[in-house]
């Protein structure tokens, strides 16, 4: 038999220490009966009642009788309000998820995600074709606003990054190539690299971080506020109404931004070449002979595809937003990550494709 006595205030400030002592005593004693002396309890709040109730639950679980002596009517009444049966689950360990189950779950999620993406691509194409056939179906105002926000407002950052990229590339190639006396060919190298690959690539990455995330956040917030559902009940297709203008505007502005990135990249490269002592005309001649209209066309074609990917996946992640305060944040992150992965994958596909096509 164990006799416990509590005195003074049993409130949230004091119960913590008492709880630990009580648990400690019960662990070592393994009693058949516990008597709790309560005469000297001055005050007992919800936390105090929690401690007394804990003793009662413990007694039921470990098979000892608990007797409260001298407990005043108010706390006794409070204690009786709780049915010990309803707390049978209390303290049970949560079920652990088996790794195999987790892998299966992950694979299924991946499958569903791919399925959703395919469906979305289909829907988007139908909506775009419809908009192009019946031009009044497209919200042109929305297209121009998006083009301004994602395009015109991005010219500054795209030119800055393009300039620095050209500068850094030229500088890092120039040093080793100078050892072989071929540093003039830095101009050819940077020009081809920039126009064919890196110009569209950096533009698309900037676009993914700047606008793809914004699309996801915008549509995600609309989803949470039931605005998407409101559109659906008005029999307006959210893909046509919200996604198509964004995708169209982005496809339109990405090649333009790519041209800006290319031009400023070449200027950056030019600064390095001039500082290495080459006259401007030599540099421009080399650039002109290195790239032809085919290279420019390849770059711009890639930009169109990248623009579609960034806007499409941004909008898709936005529409997939779930509920809760962190949902929009998660959608934005997923939009940027998916966009970057898709850009790199597409870049790889293009590299192989253009090689075999001989472009």
């Amino acid at each position: 038999m164990v006799t416990l006595g509590y005195a003074g205030r049993l409130d949230s400030a004091n119960v913590g220490a008492l709880w630990r002592q009580t648990a400690d005593i019960l662990k070592h004693a393994r009693p058949s009966r516990v008597i709790v002396l309560c005469e000297e309890i001055e005050y007992c709040d919800g936390s105090g009642a929690g401690l007394l109730f804990y003793l009662r639950l413990k007694g039921l679980k470990q098979g000892f009788a608990v007797e409260f002596k001298g407990l005043r009517p108010e706390p006794a009444e409070m204690l009786d309000r709780f049915d010990a049966d309803r707390f049978a689950e209390y303290g049970k360990e949560k079920r652990h998820i088996h790794p195999a189950e987790e892998i299966g779950h992950f694979a299924w999620q991946l499958f569903v995600d791919v399925q959703e993406q395919l469906a979305f691509i289909g829907e988007l194409h139908v909506a775009m074709v419809r908009c192009l056939v019946r031009r009044r179906q497209l919200r042109w105002k929305e297209v121009f606003i998006t083009a301004e926000r994602a395009g015109a407002n991005a010219v500054g950052i795209v030119s800055l990054i393009g300039f620095l990229f050209g500068l850094i590339m030229a500088f890092s190639f120039a040093m080793p190539m100078r050892q072989f006396g071929v540093d003039i060919y830095v101009a050819d190298l940077v020009a081809v690299g920039l126009v064919r690959v890196l110009g569209p690539f950096i533009t698309a990455i900037i676009l993914a971080g700047r606008s793809g995330s914004a699309y996801a956040a915008e549509l995600g917030t609309m989803k949470i506020n039931d605005e998407i559902d409101a559109l659906t009940t008005m029999s307006l297709d959210p893909v046509r109404f919200l996604v198509a203008p964004k995708v169209l505007a982005t496809i339109f502005i990405t090649p333009l931004l790519t041209v800006v990135a290319n031009v400023f990249g070449l200027i950056g490269c030019g600064v390095v070449m001039l500082s290495l002592g080459f006259p401007l005309v030599t540099y421009t001649n080399h650039v002109e002979s290195a790239i032809d209209s085919g290279d420019v066309a390849v770059g711009l074609f890639k930009a169109v595809v990248f623009g579609g990917l960034v806007a499409g996946v941004g909008c898709l992640r936005g529409l997939q937003t779930k509920t809760g305060p962190s949902a929009v944040g998660i959608s934005t992150t997923r939009a940027v990550v998916s966009a970057i992965v898709l850009i790199v994958l597409a870049e790889g596909v293009f590299a192989v494709l253009f090689h075999y096509m001989g472009i």
């Binding site: 929690g50 049915d83 309803r86 303290g91 305060p325």
Partner: protein
């Protein structure tokens, strides 16, 4: 409520508003321990503004708000903390943290302000959920529950540290009559059994009749309290036209 009992809240000469716009003009009242005190009035009369002033979220332009003898106006640091520990608030939408389970929502203050062991905090939080009729829902996320359940969970969270006063903002807003009546019953039961003082903002007549010991009526044009008293008394013997219309649901 006789005047010999010390009031638990005393509002003196409170004026409040937003910028140049005055919403409440020089109002005073007292709330006594253990009563369910309802702040009522039409839309836009400043009920929520008054509540936000009383819980320290807004600073009034003038006046004092004494919570258990301490002025919450201008209180900061330790004194503000000790006043806030005496009150619990249920917001209109519940304001449960969406990224936490119900049990974690309720347990939060126990974890932050006490040294209770983990299982103790869990048990106490589960008991509070049981008190509001949500026993067994501890592992649910707020988004998985109905509006009424979210509000009940918010009450459980507000009372986890056994505050003297619970402030409830529009407990029946957006709920069906049955759920709303259930919530009213819960408020009465908690007030009677746990001796908590309730300050309830409401404009629902049925709910006011069901819970209120005393009501104050705010009026939009005057920006003042136009009536104080038990709801039955206000309904039967008022000479104020607006209060009469409110209690008899008449249009202007």
């Amino acid at each position: 409520m006789s005047n010999e009992i010390e009031p638990v809240i005393r509002v003196e000469g409170l004026s409040a508003g937003y910028g140049d716009e005055v919403i409440l003009d020089d109002i005073s009242f007292e709330v006594y321990p253990g009563e369910v005190f309802v702040i009522a009035g039409g839309s836009g009369c400043g009920k929520t503004t008054l509540l936000k002033n009383m819980i320290g979220l807004l600073e009034p332009d003038a006046g004092r708000i004494l919570i258990d003898g301490d002025d919450i106006v201008g209180a900061s640091g330790r004194s503000r903390h000790s006043i806030l520990r005496k009150i619990g608030v249920m917001f209109q939408t519940g304001a449960l943290f969406g990224s936490m389970t119900l049990l974690e929502n309720v347990r939060l203050e126990l974890d932050e302000f006490t040294d209770l062991p983990r299982d103790a905090a869990n048990l106490i939080a589960a008991m509070k959920l049981d008190l509001v009729g949500l026993g067994g829902y501890g592992d649910y996320m707020p988004a998985e529950l109905s509006g009424g359940m979210q509000k009940r969970a918010a009450i459980a969270r507000a009372m986890v540290l056994d505050p003297q006063i619970l402030f409830l903002d529009e407990p029946s807003a957006g709920l069906d009559p049955v759920t709303s009546a259930g919530l009213d019953g819960l408020i009465r039961r908690l007030a009677e059994s746990l001796a908590i003082t309730f300050v309830v903002v409401s404009h629902e007549l049925a709910s006011i009749y069901a819970v209120a010991d005393r009501v104050i009526m705010l009026e939009k044009e005057l920006k003042k309290i136009v009536a104080v008293g038990p709801p039955d008394q206000l309904r039967d013997s008022t000479d104020n036209a607006w209060v009469r219309r409110f209690f008899h649901r008449q249009a202007e």
